[in-house]
């Protein structure tokens, strides 16, 4: 056991806590990915499965954290996180199957009018893009470009392109446009991508709870918070890129404490922002506190759309033009696997994963 393994255990604990919280982060009418009428949201089977799931997740987290700390190597942490996520799936599926069985047997949807709801004002008067939040990312990216362009001649003939765990450079490359500006291109691409994703999140599909009169307000709050979080994340990413670029160019060597802070602050800030959104806002804004929220007990309920989420995980609906749809169990989005565009996106991600090492080797 040492400091390194204690620090690397943080993500293991964090993932465990998030998995434990998960049942409380989703809309009340979708416990464990099962669509239920609002007046069955606290049915005995739902409460029992929530208790059981949380007990199992708590035990899983303790075991995974202990293993990660005791292993004594930083490499153990990703393995422990992977194991947590992997074991979490059957725990979820078990709870889902139990609730589905009771729902089917007791015919919770019998005699109910099943509807889908849209609020056209979300489209005709859409939430505005939060441009001020994009400012840090844009300014930091622009700063990197300007510094790189002005100071190219001042850079040393040999650039450090890889840094060891201690922060000392351990691989070098001759100064060229590719080795000097490769990271800048990556930064520009990452910033543009994150700014675009924030826009997509803002306009993403509104899956409104028909039994919640304030569902549209919740959706607005959710997409706006998600877009802002993504822009903060873009700022953090840009700061990391800028710090690394200054290292590579050997232009400004900040004092050791500043350099250490530059390594930790963006990651910590980005993580904190995401946590706040997940816990304070919840999936589709389900956790936003609104005055006068009344639970419906009417005959009109949400359409039972369980069959669209295959295995409770994969959304498959060829009729639906949406590519990004709300995740069934968790906060965020998943892909509509019935759309060809989805496979193009997945293909592009895989291709990027395959190409990146090749490009890296070529610029070396």
């Amino acid at each position: 056991m040492n400091d390194v393994s204690l620090v690397s255990a943080i993500p293991v604990v964090l993932i465990g806590v998030l998995q434990w919280l998960r049942p409380a982060l989703v809309p009340p009418t979708i416990p464990f990915g099962v669509r239920v009428p609002r007046d069955h949201a606290d049915a005995p089977v739902v409460l029992a499965q929530r208790r059981r799931y949380r007990l199992a997740v708590a035990a899983l987290t303790v075991v995974a954290t202990a293993a990660a700390v005791l292993a004594g190597t930083p490499a153990a942490a990703p393995v422990a996180v992977g194991a947590e996520l992997l074991v979490g799936v059957p725990l979820y599926l078990h709870a889902r199957a139990r609730i589905t069985a009771v729902k089917t047997e007791e015919r919770w949807f019998a005699g109910r009018r099943q509807v889908t709801v849209a609020d056209t004002s979300l489209r005709t008067d859409p939430p505005r893009y939060p441009w001020p939040w994009a400012l840090p990312a844009v300014v930091l990216t622009a700063a990197t470009v300007v510094i790189g362009a002005l100071d190219y001649s001042r850079m040393p003939a040999s650039l450090a392109v890889h840094f060891g765990p201690s922060g000392r450079p351990d691989r070098w490359a001759a100064k060229s446009l590719a080795s000097a500006y490769g990271p800048v291109l990556a930064q520009v691409a990452a910033t543009i991508l994150l700014l675009a994703v924030a826009g997509v999140a803002l306009r993403s599909r509104a899956q409104l709870d028909a039994e919640d009169p304030q569902a549209a307000t919740r959706h607005r709050g959710f997409v706006l918070a998600a877009a802002r979080a993504l822009l903060v994340l873009a700022g953090c990413t840009s700061l990391t890129f800028l710090a690394n670029a200054l290292d590579v160019w050997n232009l400004a060597v900040p004092p050791a404490p500043v350099r250490a802070a530059l390594n930790v602050v963006p990651t910590a800030l980005g993580g904190a922002v995401i946590l706040v959104v997940i816990i304070r806002i919840g999936q589709s804004g389900s956790r936003i506190r609104l005055a006068g929220t009344t639970a419906g007990r009417g005959t009109t309920v949400n359409r039972d759309d369980d069959r669209l989420y295959r295995l409770g995980l994969f959304y498959f609906n060829p009729d639906d033009p949406s590519v990004f749809v709300p995740k069934r169990f968790g906060v965020g989005w998943t892909l509509n696997v019935a759309r060809p565009v989805t496979w193009l996106i997945l293909g592009a991600v895989v291709a990027m994963g395959l190409i990146a090492p090749v490009v890296g080797a070529m610029t070396r």
């Binding site: 889908t116 489209r123 005709t124 009729d319 639906d320 949406s322």
Partner: protein, 135 residues
């Protein structure tokens, strides 16, 4: 405007969409000049096929209630304040009301009962409640 559709209803989805828009215009929650969502957006929000929304919008266009523009999208052009109906709108509406009222009579509803219910519905529409002044 809140759009509610029943996915497992006997009434086709496009017909439901068209009916809800007509009702929203009568209720005053949609007015002449208001925009409707783009076809793709509305289909995505409801998780239904784009052709279904297209069909509903096309129906509304042929009925003279909305205009479809490449740039502007779907815009409402007709409400109670625009003026008296054009052409044979009244006659065609009466033919359908004839069937609807016939249903009520055939099922045994009294004339007074039918009138009372029709009156209550009309009073739900801002422009439909001034019966005396128009007749």
């Amino acid at each position: 405007m809140i759009l509610v559709v029943e996915t497992d209803s006997e009434v086709p989805l496009y017909q439901q969409l068209r009916d809800r828009v007509v009702e929203a215009i009568a209720e005053g929650s949609l007015r002449s000049g208001d925009s409707l969502p783009a076809t793709r957006q509305l289909a995505a929000d409801l998780g239904i096929n784009m052709h279904t929304v297209n069909k509903a919008y096309d129906l509304l266009r042929r009925e003279g209630l909305i205009r479809l523009g490449r740039r502007t999208g779907a815009v409402v052009i007709r409400d109670a304040g625009v003026g008296p109906p054009a052409g044979d709108v009244a006659e065609r509406w009466e033919a359908r009301a004839h069937t609807l009222l016939a249903e009520a009579v055939a099922m045994g509803l009294s004339g007074a009962e039918i009138q009372r219910r029709c009156q209550a519905i009309l009073e739900g529409f801002p422009a439909g409640s001034d019966l005396e002044s128009r007749s």
